[in-house]
Subunit: 691 residues, 2 copies
């Protein structure tokens, strides 16, 4: 419908503004994009799959925000199935292709757990016979699987799971049972409405030796269980299963619950690559080293970092583009009424929120890449029965998972607030992403809990270093701790900034020194002073954070010696500015920790604010091109504010005026009448029926 | 439907646990509740209105999370109308009653702006004749009004609004017009589908003196405009109006957009208590002092603080209760397999996130009360034509709005994460509250922007203090600055903590000293060194935060001399622990700022961690009773995790298993079929039709 608003234009032209921003920086965006996103053919794959998705109506995101949660599951399932058909049609069958679909569709698919935890667990923990039986059905999606580990009462503490699987020596089978309400499986993705099969993790109960009526637990073990009838899709007798209901995010996913009433499964249900119940002795035979499983946990956490950088880059893309276009107020010191209002990205109060996050996305990138190589290397070591690197890898991956998901989750909200009023609107494109991402700080190892593991590792390393300060160092942590022990008597806090000049090597050193000093304090408190672990927890959490920040800073700095040096000017210099900004901003955020560990001179702390301002001024002209390099397609952004063409206001208006279903209904606002939709005469019954 | 899960119980009994927590503290909850919530009969009102709401089906919250956004507006309107009918039925007509409805229903009503900004603006800015004409219609809800100020292109910068109202000297009327797309009114609550009338804020254009074809703006002025036909509820010709679509929160509210095409309104449309266009000279006559308007802005901001404390108390209520019941892991130093798992609230890593926020809710309370008295006092002064107190009031209210809404918005998310996995679920009861509250840091004055006003005020005060350091102080800020100037040459950083002992007066002093020192630095940078305002913005934001934190700390401390001393033991001592915890935690969070301003000794900084641990240990046994005192009814909490009876797991399970509509549908998970609901044969058409 045409009306007088069709010919109106915004006061300032967003498209021209963004073009001017791009013209003002000589960064080669394509080159930088390839540098960041070439692994596994990411960029080529993105383009290929995007072309298909954009054509299919079912992936349109326009009305998604107007759907109810049950409708979102309907849609999620329809999309999951459509993706399978499309992948087969184009013969795209790699898991990288699949992940790209999920990334671009931007919602967790009800099939998500099938190819991740379900398939992985069977592959890694199934015996050869089990794999032979199950893997073809899995790869063909003849069955849909999920992974049922967490329970209503236990998540982090896997050893405390309440579901039991009791061995019946007579019938040579297991009886799976939920003795308490809190034994209910809970949160397990794809379980609620979708899955036909589940990996059920349960306490394996075997008869006690010599007392055949008493049972004892041999710890949680995985069982593969069919839970629903293949035809009717109804759960079998003895199983209660369903969807747990709406959550912050994951609207499209059927996170489920499940309880068992003495439910019997055959012996073959227990995945038995590493463990098997002996039918003769009713004991558990262990074979092989399941530490390789921790390897895959580490891989998952490495992927979490790579994922975090893309999520953060997306929030920053929206914020940088919108804040380059949005103008508000003339400069307070301006003397002319004719001056344009300032772009809000030119306010330091906006820069200080967005630009350090822009820098952080790059920091995450280089550490994600490093973790990936570390994982490959340790896999090789494991193949040669060398489990040594696992501890360092596990520690780094835990600390980094905690830090990076926190930075990203908080970063999304920081970007949103920096966008003022429109940041709260649907045009931000951040609502769904934020709602989904808020799960990350607590899943796959709670961000506060897993840092205890990091600290325990560092205390152990420091204990060794103290015991033998001249042993040949096995890794960078040994080297650092030995250096620290040698120098702590005569260490001088370092200068990282003089005026607005920064010293990159000194930056790396202060992050390292702080980690070593906090490790030493933790060692002292726990090993020497024998303080209770619980009392130290906050201190240990800070230690993990310091250690992880040190990894980010060191790895980013190392990248200058290797990968980034081949890029054309000015990109390497701009990345160095990102490095400095990330590091100094981090330093300022935790300044007191650097001061108390004598890492940094107080002179530097005074200089920080000006140094950071100067770095942001250096970075500012490149901001739009730096976010362009992350190559987030408009289809994925789904954001009026972040559109690559800068038509922010045109799109916001179009969404509201032409694409909002609520505007097709006329309401009756008179309180005297119970009618809601004008002329419907329904007296509000429609609304009441929904309650 | 009965099944085997009906008889299951949780492994640990939540109800007994919460009872034990309550038994372990001797705080008199009723007494403390009255102390906190007696103003305007809050507690009595809450109970009275709750009794009615609980009986009416339309206010049931059970299925609310399963509704789509358009359905939420339907429901919101139905509830808004129901509230009007109920209020009349019971003859409850005060605005306090109305606010209590909105508080307990816990969603922003589509009528919200009618009684707030719409009515207030007519009352405060309308002439006697205008008030006589409009107020009866408004109070009767014969018309529904809204307040259309913000535009697509301008929010914070009100002077930059693009909508114009041009005086036509011939026809003696105004022509309202939207010259750009960005002139579109935007975000205005109740405008989208509900309102019949709007206050439209537009640039008043009058002919330039001597050049009758040229116009100039006399700044934004409010006009009262009927926008929709009383019968058909359709907008009039020349007006385009609608709902802007889904947002982070406010699903029940129809935030709207509106544009005008040379739309004519009579002269009487301009609210003319303070300004009027002369028909003879076409000039603007001003009469009276509109500063009183700023008074009401301040009142709104004072209410924001009181609201913030209740929102924060609600999040903390949920977190404290759930974390008292949730158990996970045995103590790492435990030597027995028979020990219960620990309550997660006994982990310092959980305490450090929740208990300082519990303390913060009380800090906000006393400052909210203080702001309220300050507002009453300054109203009286204004009646006597003394506008002196306005500047201090406006400054304090701006800084505190920024700080308190940030603390609360961040606090909700901190509580949520502290609850681990279940914190992400719908059972938290925090989803809607969080989505709505996230608007607060950017509305009613963006939290970063308004701090500039605070800093400007403090710089002005410091400039006066430097100019005449012995003038009789007019307010506490003058006193502080004079004290600072006298002592800055020989000031010694203070100890606030020795071991685990704290010094309350020293705490107040260091917060004051930091504020004064940062004010002096800002004065130096701007007034002496003449630095550009823009370059100082980050520093000025930190100054505002320091100043506002100082108000919270000082006011909390002052409460011990007055209100809290009458409470029975141990409440006054526990509140003192809250004061110390809030203050020391704040101090630790910004430790470097206290160090750099020489406010606090480094000895104290080293002692902080242990002091905070000790305070949390003191507070811990009272946590449940302290949140009980905030008297948030279960109806409002709508939280399985936060239920007052502790039946956390029973309720989570009930929500999932018995009240989740998705579980009534059986799906077809086979990718080969386009059918979504099993047996429907619909081939996915239903889903596609929604896109």
């Amino acid at each position: 419908m045409l009306d007088f608003t069709d010919k109106l234009k915004p006061q300032y032209d967003g498209a021209a503004t963004l073009q001017a921003e791009r013209n003002a920086s000589t960064i080669n965006v394509d080159e930088l994009a390839k540098h960041l996103l070439s692994r596994d053919g990411f960029l080529e794959r993105q383009e290929r799959i995007l072309r298909v998705l954009e054509k299919e109506k079912i992936f349109k995101k326009d009305h998604q925000m107007n759907l109810s949660r049950p409708e979102r599951y309907h849609l999620g399932l329809a999309r999951a199935k459509a993706v399978q058909r499309i992948m087969r049609k184009y013969s795209w069958t790699t898991s990288e292709d699949y992940k790209m679909f999920e990334y671009l569709v931007d919602e967790v698919s009800p099939y998500h757990l099938h190819l991740t935890m379900f398939a992985t667990t069977v592959r890694e923990q199934g015996s050869e016979a089990q794999k032979k039986y199950w893997m073809p059905k899995i790869l063909n999606y003849d069955i849909i699987g999920c992974y049922a580990q967490s329970e209503l009462g236990h998540g982090s503490n896997v050893r405390g799971l309440e579901t039991v699987a009791k061995w019946d020596p007579q019938r040579k089978e297991f009886e799976i049972h939920s003795p308490y309400l809190t034994a209910s499986k809970w949160w397990n993705g794809s379980l609620g409405r979708t899955a036909t099969h589940a990996i059920v993790v349960a306490q394996l109960l075997l008869p006690k030796k010599g007392k055949e009526n008493e049972y004892e637990s041999h710890g949680p073990q995985p069982f593969i269980v069919q839970i629903r009838d293949q035809k009717t899709h109804q759960p079998f007798e003895g199983i209660v299963v369903g969807d747990i209901g709406p959550k912050y995010g994951y609207a499209s996913m059927d996170n489920g619950y499940m309880l068992f009433d003495h439910y019997r499964v055959p012996k073959s249900a227990m995945l038995s690559r590493y463990v098997e119940v002996s039918e003769e002795t009713c004991t558990l035979n262990r074979h092989g080293h399941p530490a390789v499983v921790y390897g895959s946990l580490t891989f998952v956490r490495g992927q979490i970092i790579m994922h975090a950088r893309l999520i953060l880059a997306r929030a920053v893309t929206v914020a940088v583009r919108y804040c380059s276009i949005r103008r508000q107020f003339r400069d307070r010191d301006s003397r002319s009424d004719q001056d344009d209002e300032m772009k809000v990205l030119d306010y330091p109060t906006v820069q200080i929120r967005i630009l350090p996050l822009l820098a952080t996305a790059f920091a995450l990138h280089y550490t994600g890449e490093m973790m990936y190589s570390m994982y490959i290397k340790s896999r090789e070591a494991i193949e040669n029965d060398d489990f040594g690197p696992l501890a360092e890898l596990h520690s780094a991956s835990s600390g980094l998972k905690s830090l990076c998901t926190m930075l990203t989750a908080d970063g999304i909200e920081t970007c949103r607030r920096a966008m003022g009023g429109h940041g709260f609107g649907g045009g931000s494109g951040l609502i769904g992403m934020n709602a989904d991402y808020l799960s990350k700080p607590t899943v796959e190892g709670d961000n506060w809990m897993i840092t205890q593991q990091v600290a325990a590792y560092l205390i152990k390393k420091m204990t060794s270093a103290v015991a033998d300060p001249t042993a040949p160092p096995k890794d960078p942590t040994d080297e650092l701790f030995q250096f620290y022990l040698k120098n702590r008597g005569h260490h001088i806090p370092q200068n990282v900034a003089h005026g607005t000049e920064t010293d990159d090597c000194a930056i790396v050193c202060v992050f390292k020194w702080r980690t070593a000093d906090l490790s030493y304090r933790a060692y002292q408190a726990r090993v020497i002073d024998k303080k209770p672990w619980t009392k130290l927890m906050i201190q240990l959490h800070s230690l993990s954070r310091a250690y992880s920040e040190q990894i980010l800073v060191t790895t980013f700095h190392n990248s200058f010696r290797t990968s980034t040096s081949t890029l054309s000017s000015p990109t390497p210099e701009v990345l160095r500015t990102c490095f400095r900004l990330y590091a100094l901003h981090t330093l300022e955020t935790s300044a007191s920790s650097f001061i108390l560990t004598n890492s940094v001179s107080s002179e530097s702390i005074y200089a920080l604010q000006d140094a950071i301002l100067a770095l942001m001024t250096e970075l500012r002209p490149h901001a739009v091109k730096l976010v362009d390099a992350w190559s987030i397609p408009d289809f994925l952004l789904a954001s009026a504010l972040g559109r690559s063409d800068g038509k922010v206001y045109e799109e916001l208006y179009d969404m509201a005026h032409r694409r909002n279903p609520l505007n097709r209904i006329t309401f009756n606002p008179d309180w005297r009448s119970e009618e809601i939709v004008l002329g419907s005469g329904d007296g509000g019954r429609h609304v009441l029926s929904k309650l």
